[in-house]
């Protein structure tokens, strides 16, 4: 009886490990969904509508600057900069399907692990009951 119980417990543990193993592995193989998913932040701070005209310092109204559309003005602020704050780096304007998919995949694996656990537990109960009734 005891041996059976122990065996059942070991099996249930193995089943859980089998279920969670791929979850860890797949997290690693999907190189951090975080960067892409994080960059296009839902930006709670942003005003969703263009109605609020931000108080941007409207500079250079004369339009008489020395020319050249590609004219490099070293990034950070000069008083005459038309773009008052130059962002750093490149904008992340492409969210790939795989990156937004990873959440779904993780959920599926979690559900799989839970199913395996439930199955293991069920088996254990059935076996115990069978043993108790002497079958």
């Amino acid at each position: 009886m005891r041996r059976t119980v122990l065996t059942a417990l070991a099996l249930a543990g193995t089943a859980v490990l089998l279920g969670t193993g791929p979850a860890f592995a797949s997290e690693a193989t999907t190189p951090s969904p975080v960067p892409t998913a994080a960059a296009p932040t839902p930006e709670p701070a942003e005003s969703a509508g263009p109605t609020a005209a931000p108080a941007e310092p409207t500079r250079d109204q004369s339009g008489a600057r020395p020319a050249e559309s590609a004219a490099p003005t070293p990034a950070p602020a000069d008083d005459d900069d038309q773009v008052s704050v130059v962002p750093s780096g490149a904008p992340d304007t492409g969210v790939t399907e795989s990156s937004s998919d990873s959440g779904v995949g993780g959920t599926a694996i979690g559900a799989g692990a839970a199913a395996v656990l439930a199955l293991g537990g069920g088996t254990f109960v059935v076996v115990r009951r069978r043993r108790a009734t002497g079958a």
């Binding site: 089998l18 263009p50 790939t96 990873s102 059935v126």
Partner: protein, 213 residues
Amino acid sequence: MTAFSRRAFTTAALASLLTACAGQGTKGTAPESGSTAPQPRSPHRTVPAEQARPLARSVPVRLLIPAIGVDTPVISLGLAPDGTVRVPPVTADDRAGWYRHSPTPGRTGPSVILGHVTVGRYGDGVFRRLTELHRGDRIVARLENGTAAEFAVTAVRTVPRTRFPVDDVYGNVDRPELRLITCGGARTGDGYADNVIVFAALSGAESPTSGER
């Protein structure tokens, strides 16, 4: 151990293996729909030679690019805590966003508008076809005050994201210009390798009475 319990254990073990395999399978289904190839530019359309007059300051509310079927609302975007520019939220109704620290469209300087090329599971973003624009194509930015700034494309560039031309995009210019920015190029594990930048110059303006808002 009885024959029954042995069978039960075998079944449980088999089921756990199958579940584990199924779990792994779902990860491999990320489709690679459509990579963005840089488009050749054909300079067959002319850009108006004379410089249009700057417009009064007014925030953009809508962006239209007839050549690629874009007609989108425009939201206002600021900076993220890490100093990068924010991008529009990832939603089914994707929109473009105007960088609020850049001039409004029609003012002297580079007005910057960003949009997604793809929005994850929602599919194509509003700037999906930006690479199809050619020199001379028309871009219209409708402003809050009822006027509209009309731009003509002067260049379309695809650049590696690691070498984003900050000066070309945000640097001072002597006339009203527009920059449309999205991602493009090869898809990597977590995004795109390149940025697509459309450069355009003001070519005209519409008064509130001449068209719908």
